[in-house]
Symmetry: C2
Subunit: 444 residues, 2 copies
């Protein structure tokens, strides 16, 4: 179908699957290099995932945290982009099979990121809400608002409380940020918008299987984040796992059960990988084993970067964390190394430089670890905002997000509480397998 992407130029052709942090950085660094770069993504935009929870809770518009991929590279001559779903790769033929046809490559970079991991628990997957893409965050927003509307007209007290109980599963940064934002929504917005509801009937739980939230951060950060969450009214349940959830009742490992129609799942991720790689190259949580040059195990000209890559060393038996800085640093190094490979020069081994980590719980409440330096509270919150604002792609997004944040700060309000697409569990007619995020309705 699409001949144009296979036009042979004199330069080696690098195909990059995925326009996340890693794919973007790699592509930028290949500007003006003697290569032909083709990026494939199932969306025509880059998603700034760290702020998805703000979209889900009505703090930001979806368009503020997304940026058209074509626009990022509009001045890059050696760049081509296609919206497509990659179905399979064939390392022997050096081909990618996609929904727009076959595509040849000389070098292939898998930068497909991660997807929600339900650890094989089909029932939980069926009834709980993930939040890894913009359409999923918008679905979540619609669900939250629709359940509030439904609670208003519900007379059965049990069903009513199940509409008003929110259970966030997983105490990593996403779970902490999401439960904090829900608690703030309850505190500042609900009393004004839904005076008919009693604010005490709305409950927010955060369920974490280990002993503390933000387990990857310092103990100080974990302890403080928990205190912040409790200050906001979140019931933090640590050392507790989810046993089952049937869409109505969530059962926990300590024996308690909560009636709820709102289970938000942020308890794990797994790599999103195309078919066709040898099973030897795949490790735990569906990630792709890479060496210090981000070369996929067993292949010379296939690479993986970011969340999908597992760079396992003796010091880091679990690989690197699935965060933007890892993906960006790997993208940067790989650009250099690809040129070395092309020129038969020696590549440089990748080393992760950990700049620190941070998470926000709510207004004036954040935690920051930078090496041995740790701080929490108002200043941490401003640092968190500044770093995230600066990391957003695009000047317009920065300005619009800044306006929204300043406005929210002074008004204690959130801008966008619209049910634009109604959330519904009815499974729509799908066009393609993996893309569980769309299906615009017919206007007829």
């Amino acid at each position: 179908m699409d001949q144009s992407v296979n036009n042979s130029s004199a330069f080696p052709k690098i195909v990059i699957i995925g326009g996340g942090f890693g794919g973007i950085e790699l592509t930028k660094r290949l500007k003006n290099k003697e290569t032909e770069v083709l990026m494939l993504d199932r969306h025509n935009y880059h998603t700034f995932q760290p702020l998805l929870y703000q979209v889900a809770t009505g703090g930001l518009e979806a368009d503020s945290i997304a940026f058209p991929l074509r626009k990022i590279f509009k001045d890059q001559k050696n760049f081509t982009f296609r919206v497509t779903e990659v179905e399979r790769i064939d390392p022997n033929l050096k081909k990618v099979y996609s929904t727009i046809g076959e595509i040849d490559y000389d070098y292939l970079v898998i930068a497909t990121g991660s997807d929600t991991n339900f650890f094989g628990q089909k029932e939980i997957e069926r009834y709980s809400m993930p939040m890894k893409t913009i359409p999923e965050a918008l679905n979540l927003r619609s669900m939250i608002l629709q359940n509030l509307e439904e609670a208003l007209i519900e007379n059965d007290p049990l069903i009513k409380s199940s509409l008003l109980n929110f259970v966030v599963v997983g105490g990593g940064p996403t779970g902490v940020e999401l439960s904090g934002a829900l608690a703030e929504l309850k505190k500042h917005v609900l009393p004004k918008d839904y005076p008919e509801l009693s604010i005490n009937d709305v409950k927010v739980y955060l369920v974490e299987g280990s002993a503390e939230v933000l387990g990857a951060m310092s103990e100080q950060a974990s302890t403080k984040a928990k205190a912040f969450l409790e200050k906001l009214g979140v019931q933090v349940l640590t050392n507790i796992r989810v046993v089952s959830y049937d869409g109505k009742l969530i059962k926990l490992s300590d024996g308690q059960a909560i009636d709820t129609k709102n289970v938000l799942w942020s308890a794990g991720v797994k790599g999103s990988i195309p078919e066709g790689l040898s099973p030897d190259a795949i490790t735990r949580a569906n990630r792709i084993l890479v060496n210090e040059f981000n070369q996929v195990k067993g292949y010379e000209n296939i690479f993986a970067i970011g969340d999908v890559a597992a760079f396992i060393t003796d010091e880091k038996p679990n690989g690197l964390p699935g965060v933007a800085p890892v993906a960006i640093q790997q993208g940067k190094m790989l650009a250099k190394n690809l040129i070395s490979f092309i020129n038969n020069e020696k590549p440089e081994p990748f080393q992760y430089f950990d700049k620190g980590s941070m998470a926000t719980v709510g207004r004036n409440l954040a935690v920051v670890d930078i090496g041995k330096i740790r701080f929490q509270g108002v200043f941490a919150w401003f640092v968190w905002m500044f770093v995230h604002l600066m990391s957003l792609v695009g000047f317009r997004n920065k300005v619009v997000t800044f306006v929204n944040w300043v406005w929210s700060y002074f008004s204690y309000d959130r801008g966008t509480r619209l049910i634009i697409r109604r959330f519904s569990r009815i499974e729509p007619v799908m066009t393609k397998g993996r893309d569980h995020d769309d299906s615009g309705s017919s206007p007829l």
Copy 2:
């Protein structure tokens, strides 16, 4: 199901169907009056329809032109709101039947606005795109962008040109604004985003059945608007009607046919009315006949305002235009008159004060008629922007829209070219009849 909305208070109960310009103004004016107000709308937000075309063409985010209805009235004690679809009214029993159950009223106000009118042409309705709601505008945006992506990979020249031909039907303000915005998208954005496409292959047509565009405005405005459109490269076809459209080929009354997958229908509207009114009360284009007090013909305590109302007089045999100022003025007067009716006082007859009309074609290109004063061009464009900015509900929306417009003005760019929900003609599983705008996909 919902008992709460039927709780009897000492005050007369006014049920308002629709949170458009008319419903909002009426409700505001009933603040602190001895009435109980219940507003019903199928969305939880008010839509600023005059700017829908900017959402469809990527100039504004959907959330900037919408505003949560609960928030508008958050300080209004006598106000209750429900998201619901009204199915039928029973004037004898004074009841509204809705998706959340039966609702009693003392006074009923129908402010349901209008929907796209395809004049019974089922095939055209099936294949062309309307733009009356936010979900429809977002579908349109997705369709436009997806067809550009598809054109990139299409080798058949006929199919390729049908993906790149845009036909807007109807030369009223919506059609003029939409075709102008498409022409600007072609001129300023496409060459940067799609360097592989030849800009000359993209064609924008505006088809109008009468002799001129903007027929409701002055001749000067019509002539100038046409000139502005042609300056931007729009092919304006006047005195031409659409004969048929099968999703591939649009046939026109002058014999010509255009291969196109993009037909945008803005050629007419009809009232959206609930069942249960006497046929005597319904007139042309499904509008409800009202007298000078906005009382529906044949009913004492049912009223209609805005687009759905037909206030026909000898001087205005076609009623008033379907624009925001009419709805707002009727809402304002009706608030006064409802209190008069309640107190058995004499109501005041409605008189429309025409403040003028305006339309924008593109950057620096707008037309304004204010009584005998007519002007076009840059100043008209600034007036258009100022009036629309000030009319937007909500301070945050005003600021965000202003930032977007200033940014677009200097960058010649449009912010939000994201395919967030994929457009697809596959008919999804629907929950309810009339609501053709949603179906969030299941995340599973």
